[in-house]
């Protein structure tokens, strides 16, 4: 209960800051809509030339784009604002302030900045998913349920990766550049993994796992998910979350013992 209250407080504080910069809010919303529009334009242009990409039809890729858009906005309004501060805390030595609070530090760094004002982009993403599902004729309850499950799993993977990369800041100082690698998922993940040459498929499954983050939810939404990939996605998400949490606790232990 206390944690929900804290999250509400964090949101409130972040919103207040956001309201200060109002044209920034407008500009971002405009940019979000525009970027979705241009992405769709490009997708349409591509399908003027070819009939399928990696065996996926236009409507199936449409769902994929919707999922990338959705995940992108979650990263933009939540993960990036919160997790990118880790490197700043560490560099400025402000970490002690977090550690003395009677709340787990991972919770604090995860939920501190939730820029809920930018939800518009999220709606655009969900709208694109819905349109794609409608056009592929897969508007069924089971598909929605599976989509929800694997979208969350995908987010968990992205979160874990980002957290793990940012945690490296405790050991390597100028890590934020590397951590911003996380944005690659939105380009690489906009296409079916099957559209890449074989060596790149391996890369995008196990190293930068866009296969699990974007492809699996899109397959789930269109009722094409095989149980192997489904189980693989859930397993990957669980492992990633455990790994990132473990790395975090290791970093915190190191940090406290080093600074005392």
């Amino acid at each position: 209960m206390k944690y929900f209250k804290l999250i509400a407080l964090f949101i409130r504080a972040t919103v207040q800051v956001q309201l200060e910069y109002r044209s920034g809010t407008f500009g971002r919303a405009f940019a979000n809509v525009l970027s979705s529009a241009t992405t769709l334009l490009l997708l349409w242009a591509m399908f003027q030339q070819v009939s399928s990409i990696g065996g996926w039809s236009f409507d199936q890729v449409l769902v994929l784009i919707g999922i990338v858009t959705t995940i992108d906005y979650v990263v933009e309004i939540w993960l990036y604002p919160s997790l990118s501060k880790i490197t700043t805390y560490v560099q400025r030595g402000e970490f002690d302030v977090l550690l003395v609070k009677p709340v787990p530090s991972q919770f604090l760094v995860t939920f501190r900045y939730l820029q809920v004002l930018d939800v518009l982009g999220l709606l655009v993403g969900l709208g694109i998913i819905g349109t794609g599902m409608y056009r592929t004729g897969s508007l069924e309850f089971i598909n929605f349920a599976l989509l929800a499950v694997f979208l969350v799993a995908g987010l968990v993977i992205i979160y874990s990766l980002y957290l793990a990369l940012s945690t490296l800041a405790f050991w390597f100082t100028r890590i934020e550049e590397v951590a911003s690698m996380i944005w690659l998922h939105s380009t690489a993940g906009s296409f079916p993994v099957a559209a890449y040459p074989p060596w790149a498929r391996l890369l995008f499954t196990f190293v930068l796992p866009v296969a699990f983050v974007t492809n699996v939810p899109a397959e789930a939404a269109t009722g094409r998910l095989s149980w192997e990939w489904g189980l693989g996605g859930l397993a990957f998400a669980t492992l990633a979350l455990c790994g990132a949490t473990w790395l975090w606790s290791l970093a915190i232990r190191n940090y406290s013992s080093a600074s005392s």
Binding site: G24, A31, L34, T38, A45, G54, E177, M181
Partner: protein
């Protein structure tokens, strides 16, 4: 207009600074890999035969030089202007007998000098792997370089013009994303402009976007030739002058609103 000696000194300074931030160059490279990712996709698609006149070799050449063009033209000047206006970091530049844009531009050029030695070998390796070399490329090189230089100016002029928003509103960075999206998406980084539907192409022809990335790249791979190259240079020049004039006018208006925050 600073003297050549001043330009050289500023370039040397910023080159020195960039060398200290190799890590940042890595970031640029990662963010600029979109053309390479798209090359993988299109190569795979072209396995069953050419698409819209582009065969596998053309795709490889297009996206490798697109990668080079993309890496030669990035700008973060809106970010610099936003910070300059908000924190008053523009003040020391305004006190110098030289337009502050010279300072920003030389920062970009110095950084470019540090980045190109990493990028050029990557392009060469890419061409070798994709087996996309042809001697005709060499003949197009001078026109490509000239086109890229003009492209840099168009892109910079576009961005500084949008950057003027920083004087009028509290956060110009949102618009940075807008212009960046257009520059990437409509420039041919994802889909070669020639493969756009005809109507879209004819609308785009009225905007500066295809002249930043797509035009020089097409000149390089020989898909624009003869008199059309000259016409393209003419249009590039037009955009530089038009955007430059608009910026100069806007700059004068905007500066009145500068509040020189700080101290």
């Amino acid at each position: 207009m600073p003297s050549l000696k001043a330009l050289r000194a500023m370039l040397a300074l910023h080159y020195g600074i960039s060398l200290q931030y190799r890590a940042q160059s890595v970031l640029w490279m990662i963010n600029g890999t979109v053309p390479l990712i798209m090359m993988l996709i299109w190569l795979q698609l072209a396995e069953d035969g050419p698409i819209g006149g582009y065969d596998a070799t053309t795709f490889a050449q297009y996206f490798l030089f697109m990668f080079l063009a993309r890496q030669s033209t990035p700008t973060w000047v809106i970010y610099l202007m936003d910070r300059g206006v908000k924190n008053g970091e523009l003040s020391p530049h305004l006190l110098r007998p030289m337009h502050p844009m010279w300072h920003y531009a030389s920062e970009h050029w110095g950084e470019l000098m540090a980045r190109l030695p990493i990028i050029l070998p990557m392009v060469a390796i890419g061409i070798a792997i994709a087996d996309a070399w042809s001697w005709s490329l060499l003949a197009h090189l001078p026109a490509f370089v000239l086109g890229l230089m003009m492209a840099w100016l168009i892109n910079f002029a576009m961005h500084v013009t949008v950057g003027l928003i920083a004087f009028w509103s509290d956060n110009a960075l949102g618009y940075d994303t807008v212009i960046y999206q257009l520059y990437i998406m409509l420039g041919g980084v994802v889909v070669p402009v020639e493969l756009f539907p005809q109507t879209v192409q004819s609308i785009l022809a009225w905007t500066p976007f295809p002249y930043v990335l797509d035009f020089p790249v097409r000149v390089m791979i020989g898909r624009i030739e003869g008199i059309d190259v000259l016409a393209g240079f003419g249009i590039q020049l037009f955009w530089i002058v038009a955007l430059g004039a608009f910026f100069t006018w806007g700059w004068r208006k905007s500066l009145k609103r500068y509040a020189a925050a700080g101290a």
